[in-house]
Symmetry: C2
Subunit: 364 residues, 2 copies
Amino acid sequence: MSSSTLTPIDHALRVQRVAEQVGDRALLVTDLADLRWLTGFVTSHGWAVVRSGELFVGTDGRYGDKAVAETHGTGATVIVEQERAALDGQMIRTLDGARVLIDTDVSDHQLRVGLAARGIDVFDASPIRTMRRVKDAAEIERIERAAAIADTALAEVEPMLGSGVTELEVRAELEYRMVLHGADDRSYPTIVAAGPEHGARPHHGAARRVISEGDTIIIDVGALVDGYHSDMTRSWVVGTASPEQREVYELVRSSQAAGLAVVSSGASSKAVDRACRDVFEDAGRLDEYIHGTGHGVGLDIHELPFHNQSSDVTLEAGMVVTVEPGLYRGGFGGFRIEDLVLVTDSVNGTGHRVLTHSPKRELN
Amino acid sequence: MSSSTLTPIDHALRVQRVAEQVGDRALLVTDLADLRWLTGFVTSHGWAVVRSGELFVGTDGRYGDKAVAETHGTGATVIVEQERAALDGQMIRTLDGARVLIDTDVSDHQLRVGLAARGIDVFDASPIRTMRRVKDAAEIERIERAAAIADTALAEVEPMLGSGVTELEVRAELEYRMVLHGADDRSYPTIVAAGPEHGARPHHGAARRVISEGDTIIIDVGALVDGYHSDMTRSWVVGTASPEQREVYELVRSSQAAGLAVVSSGASSKAVDRACRDVFEDAGRLDEYIHGTGHGVGLDIHELPFHNQSSDVTLEAGMVVTVEPGLYRGGFGGFRIEDLVLVTDSVNGTGHRVLTHSPKRELN
């Protein structure tokens, strides 16, 4: 599965759509995922400006030929400067006299101060973050392939759990196998959190602790394919589950199913969160639910929309989002179950397609 | 090699030293590596305030018990709030009425605007970034262990080069083996860049391209041990090197040796850069050297000091820095050689100790 078998992404079309929204203003793109989404250029240092229908891409000498190669077809003018100050000067020149749109999330204080010092007003109103929420077919293909690779790796590694391996060894196996099965990389540092303490921390990474009889286990794993992420969590108990482990696990499964059932074009992100929360509240365990219910996934592992109590987003067909409730308590451990789903219009009462297919098993 | 065998880091001492420098002002720490360095707390969301000799650590519910456990011994008051706004309010309260020091690199525009709106003046003068440049014995122990793990993994994987493997397979093997040999993770996504195009890009990652006869190869690899990074690069040619490959490789080896020879307590970072550059300039190839000569390494993979033409840093004993010149040209490929070294006082004419021991081989 090489990336050459993937449908190409039409960056020229994106540049055209963005230029239409920008109109007679200028757009400054400094977020690197926004830059990649718009132009196809993958870098650790660069920016783009869209102005009067033209695209300018700036970067330093390390990335010059890469910028030219990757923006091929977009009509970009690539500007390469070895020195940071000279590159900043080129950015200023392309923005001179314009009303400049920038993303609210762009928090670079020095950049904002520098633009203001040159009399350039910025408006927190980039259209890209909103446009990125809805994925096109080529993006969905990449995310779906990434999700399938993580499913395959997890199926291979699952039999190791409880055989004397450490959390870190499980993580190393998963990440190694995802690359062998066609991923470019892991989507994020894989979480393998087992036992009464690590399992109780939703963002525990993985440690040199042997996964032991009676442990709760959380594995949160995803693959990266051509810049696009997948995201999935499954939970287990090593050996025979206790009655409380069984009760909590089934609550998490029910909560996750309740959240999934709400996901549909036209539903609110807040309602997804509410549905998950209601199950925990009815069971008197809402205080053990200590994170949000989900998020968009694409070129960033966490992107718009976010499912939480203050979200005002209405889900649209083409969004790719997680649903991932969990319960955690120190001394007990924790469970989380997470699927990645494509939001669709409602067909026969279902408004989504699940992209992550690893089984959500009954506990022994 | 579990992390329990590492010498503990004395965070209480750091808090005390920082409090002395802060005096009657307050210090706001928002950079997560600074936060870890000061308090021992590892998180994706949190801050610290040092004021009147007291340490306050704020975070959200996902990390509450972790914050308490990891700051044990520092006397920290841990503040946990589920909601972002409430946590921000707690930060403001601890800073109320103080002259607040903050790091210049902290570029969070919203934070600065929020503090200004509450009448809190910030001064770009945190002492932590400067203090972090000089490592203590416990930090050097971690970095040295990380470097040794990368050496071991590279020795095991080197025989694979040229046997029909792809860049990505080499990367996956290296990263897998580093964890098995005691690393908590890779230090950064390993670079495996081979052949006339990828090899010419100093920050190429790794692709599904088979490493082939005649390719130049760059492998840039490091391990992570208890938050501390290592960093090393070696280069090869698959099969028998051409005369030009041999010439360029030897230039890079000479340049790197020349830079290393300068590293000593009291030398300038700029002189290290200059020594590497001179070798390339004398050979008429300076235009093929398209990045800086090195950087500090610690809790961040790139931290102060940076060796470049505009650096004004004088090296001090206890700094841990890279020396990593390289030459790159599209159609040819590239070579880079990088060591990680501890700066020491000069003994018998040598002012450093090399931490990375993989051989810098002659080309075949």
